[in-house]
Symmetry: C2
DNA sequence: ATAGCAACTTGCATTTTTAAAGTTACATAT
DNA sequence: ATATGTAACTTTAAAAATGCAAGTTGCTAT
């Protein structure tokens, strides 16, 4: 069963390759971290995501959320009025990125673990994945 | 069994999150396309990769290959001398990205298929994945 | 009235990407 | 010997994206 995403803006893909297409959406340093926060870290507000350890700049967070909503991977809804506050949620399409995220996490864990401040130090001191 | 990659340049990761780390390496629009070409398309020369449908700019290709070699995912060796010509190959670490690539491909295929020139046209005319 | 907070937006400097042209080293055809 | 061609890059300049700090809006609490 196909569930094609076509953004409201008429985006033109650069090729028919599914990988190339996917990378036009998630091929950057931040987008999948937002998805991670929504999927696994219970961070659903702008504020909460902004406070994640990677310190995404607010304008980038704003842009990426917009893009993800345009593509139907994320939706938002008010969780209170007066004052109006939104929380962001993954749509079913967004949730479907779980295996992708898992693979990337697994690969990073296997190959990139250790090496924080400075590289090579504290290699086996912590096995947290996310 | 861990096989940590630490590039010869002392790179500092922005967090301990495996996803965030992986994205510092492969979180862009081009890197995984190079890996795709090496892994599945039998494109091993600079020229061959440059000629892929997505038309990667040569300076980006050059930079990315350098980065991938620095991180030990790709190596190159001369396949002839006079004139000296190189071909690029995935290392075992590079090969280990296969499941990641497969997941991304699968996701793109499920969610981003169809919609080329212009979006929405020729939806079911071709089912090639890569 | 003043201060504070969440959710953004704006302005601007820096960095990265892109497209095009140029370079180097060698090979082959005339 | 000279001219043309090719692979693998590098350089340059313009365009786009990113990152940082500060500002805005709408509302609440004191």
């Amino acid at each position: 069963m196909k569930n094609n995403l076509v953004p409201n803006t008429g985006h033109e893909f650069r090729s028919r390759c599914s990988i190339a297409r996917a990378l036009e959406l998630i091929g950057d340093k931040w987008t999948l971290l937002i998805v991670r926060d929504l999927m696994w870290h219970n961070k659903h507000t702008f504020q909460a995501m902004q406070n994640s350890v990677e310190r995404i700049p607010t304008n980038i967070l704003s842009q990426r959320l917009k893009k993800l909503m345009d593509w139907g991977l994320v939706r938002r809804e008010p969780y209170q009025e007066r004052p109006l506050r939104y929380h962001y949620l993954l749509t079913d399409n967004g949730q479907s990125l779980e295996p992708v995220l898992s693979q990337i996490m697994g690969w990073g864990h296997e190959h990139l673990e250790g090496g924080l401040h400075p590289p090579g130090v504290s290699k086996n001191s912590d096995t947290r994945l996310v």
